[in-house]
Amino acid sequence: MSTTVAVLRFPGTLDHDSAVRAVEGLGATAVEAWHADAELPAGTDAVLLPGGFSYGDHLRCGAIASRAPVMAAVKRHADAGGRVVGICNGFQVLCEAGLLPGALRRNATLSFVCRQMELEVADDDTPWTSGLETGAVISIPIKNNEGAWYGDPDAARVVLRYRDNLLGSTDAVAGVANAAGNVMGLMPHPEEACDALLGSTDGQLVLAGLIA
């Protein structure tokens, strides 16, 4: 049986389809999880929160989505040790939901930035870095306006750091996990780095963490 990954869809989610393609490229099965539903689809093994502007980013990025009905089910899934990854807006949602430490602030550039970035693996003992060694460098694009992670790096499990801290994250953080490692969020977009035709397949190394 292949792994079933529930890909969340909020109003304003933009990366649902590319996340589905990336998940299917890993040999997993993708199913849509609708924001207004109280439960994740039956048979869900792992959860992916894709990027976008959920609820128009009104109030604060991820704030409204973090209180959507489906998020209670995501929390139960995470508490039971299930794998959860949040990408970009999905990372913001996980921080707002309290599933990950810290918060995402306006970029130091004071602008939206779309650029291919080099990321350094800071912790190779997580499901999201299992094929990699600490210090290894991978290439994944960022595209965000509020992508500067702010928090206490000592109280967080830093998984990925930018080699060039363009956005002004605390300790150059690009991605963090919860203490157990089963929940991870990152601002870069691994689902857009899963195809050599598009310039990089390094995103597959991260998303492989969805497959138990």
Partner: protein, 722 residues
């Protein structure tokens, strides 16, 4: 104010106002007069440009939908159809650049949605005054912010476009947005209303007072009093647009819709009259049912340009299902009327009929005017003696690379999400963007181009050059041009030589398009881009789409490996009207369409045979800039030898000649030359290698280290904005 008759306040001429009662057989009601004023504006009726547009080739084996619908549609093989269109939002952007540019993106996206297509790419063609002007910096940075805000929030990648700066755009900037979408399994949706008894459903945002009179007030008059026109600019809500996109995709795939139309200029008036006129049916609308944001008079409801709204014709038995899909996406959806027998558009308010007239009077029967065609005098050739030859050519080269018109546009495109959707194969910064067609081995290439300085001096040649440059950009990424969309930005066609320039530009574009066998499938006209003191350069922007049968076969402009041979395809350039000369005048050699098309065909065939390591169009800044750009992109230098005989700066920086720079493995040169017919000039320039761009012109050698070139090229735009 009250001394001026209502029709003149609304922008109608006395003759037009007199024609309306003749056509109606009675005096129009006030709402009807307002509707006529908008629908008969240049923006909605093309009354000054329609006769000229007939010169474009619009048919071809791939054309599934030509001009006249919300967008053109082209068959790209593999069972895939692609919709494309470019549109201007110039006047609103000159008044309020952020919302003007943002709603320009929103409008073109809805045109694509209305065809039943899913938007997959955006491009923007922009013109502003020189960045030394505080006003131009404001208009430029806020327009870029508005485009980015909207495009980023709706999740359609902005993959390309172009921008240039010229004093002539100081008071009338240009913001043209192009969108491309892929048709779903439901096929093409059209605007024609059908089936008396079917429901008319308005869905999306609520209707408010924003943008009232935009089409007539802003887009069809000169901009001297633009400061007072701010309430006429619409307000953007990209979050609702994204929900509309997702909702319309679901509706199109479920086959719920009989017809679909977006609400753009002139709002409900335009959408309803076009749907009725195209379908040869009537529509009966109850204005009391339109969801409002604030209290509005009937005429205001009819012409409001509130954004993110669509109008659909739905079978009665599908109505409930259709509204349920809209609700799922948190969108208002209301049956506001129905399709009727006959041909009249009827609108009721408070039980009374306030509008009752044949829809075609609004949609099709605007008066058509021939523009005066007063030729401008021919240009005088540039006197090179007026341009001092620089003592340090390398320094002049670096300076040119830092000019905003030539410098890297990274400052712009990094503010746009150019990757969302995970289909962008060739990103901004090259000759054309390449976008994979989802679910297919194929890809499309996209570019926008315009040779506006050329059009000013010689509009026919400039029209040809604009089309040919677009085709060269596509050929350089290995894509065969298959369709075009155009946005004709001109000053007031009733004044001076503008009408002649418009006609000549169109004729030149048509010649080149015909020679390339590329049909125009959609387009837009924006006139009156002038103020009391300045009028824009004639700017007929060409958006062109090319096709790659194999998505993995595209070619980039970056030099690849040391030892690769560099060849130059095409003829010599001149400094007249060039970026280097920085003076508007000059006289340009005739653009030889058949020679340039042969050169394009050569590069295309070489790309298709897999011979090219890189290819790059030689455009602004000439050969020296093109070599530097390929070197910077590849991170490797080049040594090129060029024949002397003219001034060194003309050899380095001259523009035109239909040139492309290609590199090949040494062993492939003979095969490449074998593909070249007698009409194409191919010259050996040199080899890739080293860490400097070295140009040998006879005994003179000019060298620019790649890193120095990069420093200048990347510094130019941020520095101009600092």
């Amino acid at each position: 104010m009250s001394d001026v008759p209502l029709h003149r306040q609304l922008g109608l001429t006395d003759d037009e106002a007199a024609l309306i009662p003749e056509l109606l057989g009675r005096e129009p009601t006030d709402p009807e007069l307002v509707m006529f004023s908008l629908m008969w504006s240049e923006h909605c009726s093309y009354k000054h440009s329609k006769p000229l547009l007939r010169g474009f080739p619009t048919t071809g084996a791939r054309v599934l939908q030509g001009p006249g619908e919300n967008a053109g549609v082209v068959d790209v093989g593999d069972g895939i159809a692609v919709a494309l269109k470019i549109e201007s939002h110039n006047h609103p952007s000159a008044v309020e650049p952020f919302e003007g540019a943002a709603t320009g993106v929103g409008g073109i996206v809805r045109d694509i949605i209305a065809m039943g297509a899913r938007p997959i790419a955006l491009l923007d063609s922009l013109r502003f005054g020189e960045l030394t002007s505080a006003r131009s910096r404001h208009l430029f940075t806020r327009s870029v912010a508005g485009i980015g805000h909207y495009g980023n929030c709706i999740g359609v990648p902005t993959v390309g476009g172009e921008v240039s700066f010229d004093d002539r755009y100081e008071e009338s900037c240009l913001v043209n947005a192009m969108c491309v979408g892929v048709l779903g399994p439901g096929g093409i949706l059209r605007a024609a209303a059908q089936g008396p008894g079917n429901a008319l459903v308005l869905f999306g945002n609520k209707t408010g007072r924003d943008g009232i009179g935009g089409a007539s007030v802003l887009a069809s008059a000169e901009l001297d009093e633009a400061e007072d026109k701010r309430p006429s600019v619409q307000v953007s809500d990209p979050f609702t647009e994204r929900k509309l996109m997702d909702c319309c995709r679901e509706l199109a795939e479920s086959g719920t819709l009989v017809a679909l139309q977006d609400l753009g200029a002139a709002g409900l008036t335009s959408a309803a009259s076009e749907m009725a006129a195209k379908g040869g049916v009537g529509l009966d609308i109850d204005l009391d049912l339109v969801p409002l944001r604030e209290t509005l008079a009937p005429a205001e409801i009819l012409v409001s340009e509130s954004q993110e709204r669509m109008l659909a014709v739905v079978l009665p038995e599908k109505l409930e299902e259709m509204i349920a899909v809209c609700r799922r996406w948190d969108l208002d959806a209301t049956a506001i009327g129905s399709v009727t027998e006959g041909e009249n558009l009827v609108a009721r308010s408070g039980g009374a009929v306030v509008v009752d007239l044949p829809a075609r009077l609004l949609a099709d029967d605007a008066p058509v005017y021939e523009v005066p065609r007063v030729p401008a005098p021919a240009g005088i050739p540039l006197d090179l003696a007026t341009i001092p030859e620089p003592a340090d050519l390398a320094a002049a080269w670096a300076d040119l690379l830092a000019r905003p018109n030539i410098a890297s546009k990274r400052w712009i495109y990094e503010r746009y999400d150019h990757l969302v959707g995970a289909n962008t194969i060739r990103r901004p910064g090259g000759d054309a963007a390449v976008v994979r067609l989802p679910g297919s081995d194929r890809a499309i290439a996209l570019t926008t181009d315009c040779a506006e300085r050329h059009c000013e001096i010689d509009p026919r040649g400039g029209g040809r050059a604009s089309v040919l440059e677009a085709a060269r950009n596509l050929a350089c990424v290995g894509a065969r041009p298959v369709a075009a969309t155009d946005c004709l930005n001109f000053p007031n066609p009733e004044k001076g030589s503008t009408g002649w320039r418009l006609a000549e530009s169109i004729a030149g574009m048509a010649e080149a398009l015909t020679a390339l066998d590329v049909p125009v499938v959609s387009g837009n006209v924006s006139l009156y881009n002038e103020s009391a003191t300045r009028s824009i350069l004639p700017t007929p922007v060409v958006g062109m789409m090319g096709l790659l049968e194999r998505a993995d076969s595209s070619v980039g402009h970056a030099f690849a490996d040391a030892g690769d041979v560099v060849l130059l395809v095409g003829d010599d350039g001149v400094l007249d009207a060039s970026e280097y000369a920085a003076s508007p005048g000059g006289a340009l050699p005739d653009v030889d369409v058949s020679r340039e098309v042969a050169a394009i065909e050569l590069v295309l065939r070489a790309a298709e045979e897999g011979l090219l390591r890189s290819a790059h169009d030689v455009s602004g800044g000439g050969l020296a800039v093109a070599l530097a750009e390929s070197a910077m992109a590849g991170g490797v230098g080049v040594t090129a030898e060029v024949e002397p005989g003219r001034r060194d700066d003309e050899v380095m920086f001259g523009e035109g000649g239909g040139r492309m720079l290609v590199t090949l493995a040494a062993g492939d040169v003979a095969r490449f030359e074998g593909l070249a017919g007698p009409a194409v000039r191919v010259r050996w320039l040199g080899e890739v290698g080293g860490d400097a761009v070295v140009l040998r012109i006879g005994d003179n050698e000019v060298a620019l280290p790649v890193e120095r070139a990069r420093e200048a090229y990347e510094r130019g735009l941020p520095e101009a904005l600092a």
